[in-house]
């Protein structure tokens, strides 16, 4: 249980998030993958705070802020997606082809 493992874990989590983001066709699924990526960042903060950083409270505080901010962001995102569903009657990203060159 050392810093490097935590970083690797975080990086894998981030990678999974990106992978899901690109693979998923469902908007909610994509939002969840984004959540994974954000949490990967959180893990980084916590682990840095625990192992190396000289003011270790800062990292924890930051991750708490992140939770808050992500919450609002997701709220808005879900609102928009709901509206989206009202208009298009589907949550499939393949439907989002109205706007293009």
């Amino acid at each position: 249980m050392n810093l490097m493992n935590c970083l690797i874990l975080a990086f894998i989590l981030f990678g999974i998030g990106v992978w899901g983001l690109i693979r998923r066709r469902h908007l909610v699924g994509m939002l969840i993958s984004i959540e994974l990526m954000l949490n990967a960042a959180n893990i980084n903060f916590i682990s840095f705070a625990y192992f190396t950083a000289h003011d270790s409270t800062a990292g924890a505080i930051f991750s708490i802020f992140v939770f808050a901010v992500t919450a609002c962001e997701m709220a808005i995102a879900l609102a928009i997606i709901v509206n989206m569903y009202r208009r298009h009657h589907s949550l499939d990203v393949d439907q989002l082809r109205e706007l293009h060159d």
Binding site: A40, T52, D55, A79, M84
Partner: protein
């Protein structure tokens, strides 16, 4: 003390506006009037603040107000005021064949919040505040994009925007986390000293992720892909605010970052900045070549402008900050002038090139205003845009990056080409019958005239540039 007053006012201002809805009917003009009064008051107040000659003033150890911050506030306020003016018509009748907007108070509130977010970014001096500022600036934008609930493309644009934006946020956070891990602290001064002490792979990963993250917000290559769709899908005033305010915020973020914590390694990241700038402006110019819809066209043009702005980051701090501020002022004015013209067109016709036909015959004044704004964006002297670009290149060249400057300057030719395309459709093409001449309201005319004069004189009248920036020490 008076350094903090405008920020506090700006913080409570949106609550007042939204609150005013409780006391008046939906249709009434009162919120809009209040908004005007408030914004202009804050802007004037900002102009009364004496510049602090380089060294910032601190509040609670992590709220710094320095010259760049103050001037950035002014830019943001200008953008907000113009955005509010621009949005007024869209709440009175539908435009561009799309349903009309509602709840102007909340709309203005959102714009104000976004502006405040920009203020937070420029006055932050630790990563938390920094991150919060960026989010406060961004999240209202998502809402604004989706403001038109009944609009199909609006909701699609919002969806794309928020997904991409959240991913960008995730990238930034990841970068922040590594930066924190590298420096062991969130405070800029500590990070700067750590960076000066000697970079490490952690730092470089952080830099990479930070630049990619902000690349979304600043629409750098290849992260600009969301911009055209969102700019087209969003309501026109939102597009204008996006193209000015959120760009200003993003570039402020980079300035604070590059000349703050990362200042010691500016030399090493110069190639990265140069590459980002070059590719972005090239791709932006290429994309704008064959557009037929005005908002999408403006999207590409603003992508290219972002590339030009990046060049300034290559220079030394004072020159670069001056250049960026100056350019943002000029860019805000020219861009808003263009958007006002489009709005006037859009209220009667579709917002496409074809509906500009014969403008010079039917409404010469609008055609002239359009030509002025386009030539200014293309950077043709003596209009303000030229001096802005000149200053950006000046900053880039001052550290000897002639190659990228030359490349950017050559790209100006392509830019001129597509701006001329727009002017052509307004000036050369014959009017077709079913397009009736446009009648301007008094507000529209006065705003257009005001902005046109501003674009013409802002550049070469020396007293402006001398006084506004006298704070900077050369």
């Amino acid at each position: 003390m008076n350094y903090i007053v405008p920020d506090i006012l700006l913080l409570i201002f949106p609550f007042i506006v939204i609150g005013s809805r409780l006391f008046c009917s939906t249709k009434s003009n009162i919120p809009w009037r209040i908004a005007n009064v408030g914004c202009i008051a804050i802007f004037i107040l900002l102009n009364f603040i004496p510049l602090a000659n380089g060294n910032g003033v601190f509040f609670l150890s992590n709220w710094r107000v320095d010259d760049f911050g103050i001037l950035m506030r002014e830019v943001l306020m200008v953008s907000a005021i113009l955005g509010i003016w621009l949005s007024k018509d869209y709440f009175e009748h539908s435009a561009d064949g799309r349903p009309q907007l509602h709840q102007i108070a909340e709309f203005i509130g959102a714009i104000a919040f976004a502006t405040f977010g920009g203020v937070v970014v420029v006055s932050a001096c630790d990563l938390v505040t920094f991150f919060l500022g960026l989010e406060i600036a961004t999240i209202p934008m998502y809402a604004l994009t989706a403001w038109n609930k009944k609009d199909l493309i609006g909701s699609e644009a919002a969806t794309k925007y928020i997904l991409m934006g959240s991913v960008a946020t995730a990238f930034e956070l990841f970068g922040f986390s590594y930066l924190y891990g590298f420096a062991g602290s969130l405070h800029f001064t500590d990070i700067q000293s750590a960076v000066a002490a000697g970079p490490s792979p952690l730092l470089w990963i952080a830099v990479l992720f930070l630049f990619c993250g902000i690349g979304f917000k600043l629409t750098l290559f290849p992260f600009y892909t969301w911009a055209p769709d969102v700019y087209e899908g969003a309501p026109t005033p939102v597009t204008a605010v996006l193209s000015v305010s959120s760009k200003a915020t993003a570039i402020a973020f980079l300035v604070v970052l590059v000349f703050g914590p990362l200042a010691p390694i500016q030399e090493q990241i110069a190639p990265l900045i140069a590459l980002l700038a070059g590719t972005t402006l090239f791709v932006g110019n290429l994309g704008a070549l064959k557009q037929s819809r005005l908002r999408r066209f403006m999207a590409y043009s603003s992508i290219a402008q972002a590339g030009y702005i990046m060049i300034a980051l290559l220079g030394p701090a004072t020159i670069a900050e001056t250049a960026i501020i100056y350019y943002l002022f000029v860019y805000a004015v020219s861009n808003y002038l263009a958007f006002f013209v489009f709005a006037i067109i859009g209220h009667h016709r579709e917002e496409i090139f074809a509906s500009l036909k014969g403008l010079s015959k039917q409404n010469p004044s609008i055609a002239i205003a359009l030509a002025i704004s386009m030539f200014s964006l293309a950077g043709i002297p003596p209009l303000a845009g030229f001096f802005g670009k000149f200053h950006l290149f000046f900053s880039g060249a001052s550290t000897g990056h002639y190659a990228i400057v030359a490349f950017a300057v050559l790209n100006n030719v392509i830019a001129l080409y597509y701006y001329i395309q727009l002017i052509k459709s307004a000036w050369v093409d014959e009017p077709d019958g079913h397009l009736t001449p446009i009648r301007l309201t008094r507000r529209q005319r006065s705003v257009v005239i005001l902005l046109s004069i501003a674009v013409v004189v802002l550049g070469f009248l020396p007293f402006l540039s001398n006084n506004i920036f006298s704070g900077f020490t050369f």
